[in-house]
Symmetry: C2
Subunit: 200 residues, 2 copies
């Protein structure tokens, strides 16, 4: 027998769909919702139900937004010819939290992965090429994860833009700040050694 | 500048109202909601908005229910003259998870605490007395936390029922002092139930 009223069981199941939430935590969250007042519950509820209706992709960069063009693309202080290319919108939020990047973004919405059937046409690359051709002297900063898929995507972008005057850079690879050298994985260490910089 | 679309900020604030959720976890949950499909979001949303409309107190024991009488009070296998007295409905869920208690419950909805201005009339005691008087040979098992408020409430119940033939027991002190009933492990709870002592 289910010990919870049906409605609570439904809510518990939805909490369990969120990342890292197990049975016990889901129960705790569901029971604590009961302590919110009616207005708060109504507001929370209607916010959740309007996610798909309200949030869309920015028509320029593909970032998550509630208007046609996102806050970042419409910010006059952002350099429009410095474009950071990321896999998804979570990376954009990460960069914006950092706070001192004065360029804009381009959200690919995935990485090229022939083994999973994801080809260049399936991700947001065509509009990136268009942006680079419209803006002279653009610098693309590739900020994709260092995996086979990330590298494949980076090389594809490099190749498709090779006849434009777009400058293409990528984030540096190396030792994360604060890490213990002893506990680094071998690949990172190898990369950090290969990319070593002269101490100035 | 807020880096999130307004709707996401609202949702993040609500997640932060749930127990133990900080800024970063709230952001993670809010962003992962976007991955649910429209039907799921609608269902989750409407479940949350109907919490106050659907859930109420059982007219017999005060436990959380979606009908007039809760599942437990209407269960024919539960002994109606064995009543476990608890502070809130979370304790009931805890006992029901343990699974081998064959009595019913009485949810006080608080503990007597003169210092906080909570008197016997402010919690669900009158209906407990009524239940005891209606049922001959009732045993009350007091399952309140071992604090001043818990003990005060226990003694008050003992005193107000002293001229009835109600047997009053309490959970044994296997319960670690200061712990919340809701977060006990099931074995400790089971042991405490088995070792219950008559209030002298």
């Amino acid at each position: 027998m289910n010990i919870y009223p049906e409605l609570l069981s439904v809510i518990i199941e939805y909490f369990k769909k969120l990342p890292g939430i197990g049975e016990r935590t889901a129960e705790r969250y569901a029971l604590s919702l009961i302590n919110l007042n009616e207005d708060e519950l109504e507001d929370f509820s209607s916010s959740i139900s309007s996610i798909k209706k309200t949030l869309r992709k920015c028509s320029i960069c593909g970032h998550l937004t509630d208007s046609d063009v996102c806050k970042i693309c419409s910010d006059p202080d952002k350099k429009k010819n410095l474009i950071c290319v990321v896999e998804d919108y979570k990376s954009v939020f990460m960069f914006e939290k950092m706070g001192n990047f004065d360029g804009v973004y381009h959200v690919l919405g995935g990485l090229i992965s022939p083994i999973d059937g994801i080809n260049p046409d399936d991700i947001n690359i065509a509009s990136l090429v268009k942006r680079c051709k419209e803006n002279k002297d653009t610098e693309l900063i590739i900020a994709l994860k260092p995996t086979v898929e990330g590298d494949t995507t980076t090389l594809y972008i490099k190749k498709i833009l090779e006849n434009t005057n777009t400058k293409i850079t990528r984030l540096s690879y190396g030792i994360p700040m604060g890490a213990e050298i002893d506990y680094l994985d071998v690949l990172t260490l190898e990369r950090a050694l290969f990319d070593r910089k002269e101490v100035s």
